[in-house]
Amino acid sequence: MTSEKPHYRGIVETKSPKDGTRFRRAVAEALREEMLRDETIFLLGQDIGKNGGPFGVTLGLYDEFGPKRLLDTPICEPTMVGMAVGAALMGMRPVVEVMFMDFLLSATDQIVNNVAKMRYMYGEEGGLPLVIRAPCGAGLQAGPTHGQSLYSIFAHIPGLKVVVPSTPYDAKGLLITSLRENNPVLFIEHMRLYRIMGEVPSESYSIPFGQARIQREGKDVTVVAMLAMMYEALNAAEELQQEGISIEVIDPRTLVPLDVDKILDSVKKTGRLVVVDESPVRCGIQSEIASVVGERAFDFLDAPIQRVGPLDAPIPFSPVLERVVLPGRKNIVEAVKKVMS
């Protein structure tokens, strides 16, 4: 892949059902329903109050809940997270909204050294019912520092749960679970998926963590894909179908805990695995999933596992270059054909 001249890698327009609830509204629904049910839930973030959030996620919530439930903060992610820890220790349930996942990095000390470890060091009293929400993802020409997929870094740390919903249905159900668990949860939303539509029940429901979903059944190759790449994998499935190749697309939905069993069951059936994500491949989630399967389903593999991700470079701004760097349908198809050959 890297020895050839880089080429356009084929992100297509992320196909969305025509009706239903928008992803960002599904997130808001989850927040609203839980905030009604649990008065200890409050939100911290920039411009989330009257402004309705920089991406419109919290639109309407301020009118309903007011300034004591939606707190506009200055720009200070480390202290937003640290204060959320303090509030959680006092029995409240804070939700920290960080504007771009890239900005989460400045709070890494508080996340890794406090959030992830409080319960371990202090027992039940150090338990933190805390959710950090942040959007990831590129494809909108936001440049190298406004679209990274960095959840692999946080999935790496014991003591943090990491949730990566790809559909509006999953977003609502998983966020409701996040708001009820007494564990710190990093809830990742993908920037390109905010406008995606999907069927979302109006009543409350929660999806347990650690349950992947088979988005499309198939028999030749298992493709693990999450967030926006799940849609790219479905696009790839359509194209491959024309050539008589049937892929099974599995969406993990949560990275910590990871539904390893479902992935293993699929690989035992197909004998072939491709893992695709927008995370950098080196030490990324693709590598983790590939390793786990290699370790536990070695005898079932008919071909080496393929990891698919961006080129080994920051994400460039130029629309042309961005599409060269980011993974998409084209190289999922390429990887599938490689494991089939």
Partner: protein, 324 residues
């Protein structure tokens, strides 16, 4: 100051801290205590003066050098010692060690190993207090090293804009490892930083427990009345090295001797004797009692079991389930 009994108790508590730290120093050097130890020798008045001014239910956050805060707040020294020994009877069941000693039931909401790490947490406790209409006041303890971190700046700002009931106490021992405080600031005193955030800031003699008590009491009252945070710069001195075993190449012996003469405990002892609140026998009795209590703590720790292997995997996460 008012109550003679309280003054005696404050004196006794400072003696407890001093003897606890001296014993921990000895036991660490004898290789009974594993890991790293950061002693609070010389800083007893800041801890005791501040903590005695707080009410039941008030919260503090501790630091890597936090034994004195914990003892001042009333933590059980047997359970503290067991934690230092890494035993399962320790306050953190041996999972945290010296830097993380705390007891939520007694208002110590964690000890933080990262410099400044607990400051936003104390600020968040104050936020929860304000949001829930409680009277809880929180105290963020830290020293000069933390005053140059971004998180210190951010936390003061957050507390200022929302009038949060938090007291920022700089337990200014004037040395960050081998770095003297004045070399890392252009301003004269740490308390000058308060101006940058529009909050009150004072510098006080950190070795006078009475001064600390009054300053903290006033700050707590302001906080409880919704008037917001205060920055207290309590100038004291770190008598020991940064950690036990620190070669201290950069510190002058003269300076250490000078500050030994300003010992907060000897100061209070002299004053209480002068005011006939304590006599020489009382002092000896307190010394004997405290030594005996600490000896009990050491025996408790020595005879406590180590954690079972399966405890290594406990409490990474809460059991999954709905909270309500």
């Amino acid at each position: 100051m008012e109550d003679a009994n309280m003054q005696i108790e404050m004196y006794r508590r400072m003696v407890t801290i001093r003897k606890f730290e001296e014993e921990v120093d000895r036991l660490f050097k004898a290789q009974e205590i594993p890991g790293f130890i950061h002693l609070s020798l010389g800083q007893e008045a800041v801890a005791v003066g501040t903590c005695f001014a707080l009410q039941n239910g008030d919260v503090i956050t501790s630091t890597h050098r936090g034994h004195h805060y914990c003892i001042a707040k009333g933590l059980d020294i047997k359970l503290m010692m067991a934690e230092l020994y890494g035993r399962s009877t320790g306050l953190q069941r041996g999972k945290g060690g010296s830097m993380h000693v705390s007891d939520f039931g007694k208002g110590v909401f964690g000890g933080y190993g990262i410099v400044g790490g607990g400051i936003p947490i104390a600020t968040g406790v104050a936020l929860a207090s304000a949001l829930q209409g409680l009277t809880t006041v929180s105290v963020a303890f830290f020293s000069d090293g933390a005053c140059n971190t971004g998180i210190f700046y951010e936390s003061l700002n957050m507390a200022a804009i929302w009038d949060l009931p938090v007291i920022f106490v700089c337990d200014n021992n004037q040395w960050a490892v081998s770095t003297p405080v004045k070399s890392m600031m252009r301003i004269e005193e740490v308390s000058d930083r308060a101006k940058a955030h529009g909050i009150p800031g004072i510098t006080v003699d950190g070795n006078d427990v009475t001064t600390l008590y009054h300053a903290a009491e006033e700050a707590a009252q302001r906080a409880r009345n919704g008037k917001g945070p205060t920055l207290i710069n309590a100038v004291t001195y770190r008598l020991g090295g940064h950690f036990v075993g620190d070669p201290e190449h950069n510190r002058g012996k003269d300076e250490i001797e000078k500050w030994k003469k300003k010992c907060p405990i000897r100061q209070m002892e002299a004053r209480l004797q002068k005011e006939n609140i304590l006599n020489i026998d009382d002092v000896k009795n307190i010394e004997t009692q405290v030594s005996s209590e600490i000896e009990d703590a050491i025996q408790f720790a020595r005879s406590s079991p180590h954690p079972e292997p399966e405890e290594a995997l406990q409490n990474v996460f809460a059991e999954v389930g709905y909270d309500k």
